[in-house]
């Protein structure tokens, strides 16, 4: 009897430790990545990095100002296209959809969410870049918007569904139309959650590389407009990392650090927004 208990306690302790170790591993991954980036890239982070163009190959120094601006442009284009479409699709799913069609849309959105970004990239290349005859920031933004739409739609839907039914009935019972109810009561009530979902979506797409490789391509100089190729941080990391120059490698690390910091800040911002959200009585 005692032997059996010892054995059971041993199994218990082993499993407990094992899951604890795995939990620590999960958490520490982020910190390992972060410190690795800081270790390798921090020395290249200076004012030049944010204000200068890349130097021609072989010269030391320069920066990634064009890539930072390019990333901002591409993400902005993606947001302008993707957020409204995703938002209204989310409203449709939560408020209007019939059973069958809603399920179809929801399922399709989830599938689209799971499409590998390289496939999105090659698709955008085929339907945008080839007909337009050149790579462009616009095509890059549109490719990213394809990823942003399903993310926004599903998160918007999720937060709208959480608004209690009684709130909708309260507005309808005062003579509001369905749309009025949604626009003046339901969406404002879910506002923080919806915004959080959007911020997380933007953070998610801003790090994507594959769709941009096929669309915005890259540019060692300032982009001459939305219809020209543009440098972006993820693609810049890729090209600098595979080049045979130590200085470029350091710059790639620095770019990675900047990108990760932006994404982390967006995430923390989103969490703050949601935690400050007024909790609704259920």
């Amino acid at each position: 009897m005692t032997g059996r208990n010892t054995y059971r306690n041993a199994v218990n302790n082993v499993m407990l430790s094992l899951s604890g170790v795995c939990a620590v591993l999960t958490v520490s991954t982020l910190f390992v990545i972060l410190s690795y980036l800081v270790y390798n890239g921090f020395s290249s982070l200076n004012l030049d990095f944010f204000t200068q163009l890349p130097k021609p190959t072989g010269q030391v120094g320069g920066g990634m100002a064009n890539a930072i601006l390019g990333s901002a442009q591409v993400v902005l284009i993606a947001s302008i296209i993707g957020l409204p479409i995703g938002f209204f699709a989310g409203i449709y799913l939560a408020e209007f959809g019939g059973k069958t069609f809603s399920m179809l849309v929801r399922y399709t959105a989830d599938l689209l969410n799971g499409v590998p970004s390289i496939v999105i990239g090659i698709f955008a290349w085929g339907v945008l870049v080839v007909p337009m005859h050149h790579f462009s920031a616009l095509a890059g933004g549109m490719a990213l918007s394809l990823m942003l739409i399903p993310i926004t739609a599903r998160s918007t839907e999720q937060f709208l569904i959480e608004i209690p039914r009684s709130m909708r009935e309260g507005a309808l019972a005062l003579g509001a139309t369905k749309w009025r109810t949604i626009a003046t009561v339901i969406v404002p009530a879910a506002r923080r959650g919806i915004m959080t979902g959007m911020i997380l979506g933007i953070a998610r797409i801003s790090g994507e590389t594959a769709p941009l490789l096929f669309t915005a391509l890259n540019n060692e100089f300032w982009s001459s407009g939305l219809s020209s190729p543009a440098a972006t941080l993820p693609v810049m990391i890729f090209t600098h990392a595979v080049a045979p120059y130590d200085d470029w490698h350091r710059q790639a690390w620095a770019a990675g650090l900047v990108l990760l910091t932006m994404v982390l800040v967006a995430n923390i911002l989103a969490r703050t927004v949601i935690s400050r959200g007024a909790s609704l009585p259920k």
Partner: protein
């Protein structure tokens, strides 16, 4: 105690004249005088999917009277109430048969927003919008285009006064409605409903989430509203029905068993089922 409250708590006026007891009253029969009813339901059947929740309910509601609907859980009283302003139409897969008229006109012939403007509703749990007290009140008038030529502030004050909430809320009109207690929130919801000047006010167990003191305040309020609009209240609490209602309808398993003067229902019901329920033999 206000004069209205005093009047309300006198048995005679609160329960209606004692002399009109009608021994022939049966299912669906008319309970009160000959005046044409504000709302009339005729042979109403209602289905949730294939489940029939209401069976041939016929009932009339007299103008400016308070009618209570009582009965055990799941008897259909809330379902019936929710048909009177067509709010059940927001549920999927439901079907209504029969006819409900407002001032003699079928409510299905109205624009749905007009029915709901004229027939207000207060729900089981307070459901203020996540806005300020002021914005909660002004919401209905705003969406119904009733603010033209009227001062919003005046309208808010009037509505809050009618709901006996003005003194408690006047100093925090621009604070969140959630800053109010549960009972105050429910009175805010009543004020919000009153702000669009409804002719009928439906209340679906408005006190079930409230403590006895908050409940008493709502009951007092209903008594003061008597005479200003037609009130239909669903309640689980029979004492509440006895205190506020002119007439009472008893529902059982989706049917209206009996509708009569409140004192008749409680003291001398015509039907055995009603008596069993009143005396606590079931339900």
């Amino acid at each position: 105690m206000s004069p209205e409250m005093a009047r309300g708590s006198s048995t005679k006026t609160a329960y209606g004249p004692e002399t009109t007891m009608n021994p022939t009253t049966t299912q669906g029969a008319q309970a009160t005088g000959a005046a044409s009813p504000k709302i009339r339901a005729a042979n109403v059947n209602f289905y949730y999917g294939s489940f029939q929740a209401l069976h041939e309910v016929s009932m009339e509601f007299q103008e400016n009277k308070v009618t209570a609907l009582i009965g055990p859980s799941g008897c259909g009283k809330s379902t019936f109430l929710r048909n009177l302003n067509r709010i059940n139409e927001t549920l999927r897969d439901t079907r209504l048969e029969g006819e409900i008229t407002l001032d003699g006109q079928n409510i299905m012939d109205f624009d749905i927003t007009e029915v709901r403007r004229r027939v207000g509703m207060v729900f089981q749990r307070p459901n203020p919008f996540p806005k300020s007290i002021f914005d909660n009140i002004i919401y209905g008038p705003k969406i119904n285009g009733m603010l033209k030529g009227t001062s919003a502030a005046e309208m808010v004050e009037k509505s809050l006064r009618r709901a006996a909430l003005w003194d408690e809320a006047k100093d925090k009109l621009h604070e969140s409605a959630y800053a109010l207690s549960g009972g105050q929130q429910q009175r805010l919801c009543i004020a919000r409903a009153l702000a669009v000047n409804p002719e009928v006010l439906l209340l679906d167990e408005p006190c079930s989430a409230l403590d006895p003191i908050a409940t008493a305040k709502i009951e007092d309020l209903l008594v003061t509203l008597k005479g200003q609009c037609t009130i239909v209240i669903v309640t689980h609490n029979m004492q509440q029905a006895a205190r506020v209602a002119d007439t009472t309808g008893f529902f059982l398993m989706g049917r209206l068993i009996e509708h009569d003067k409140t004192n008749v229902i409680f003291k001398n019901p015509a039907r055995r089922e009603t008596e069993d329920y009143i005396t606590g033999r079931f339900g």
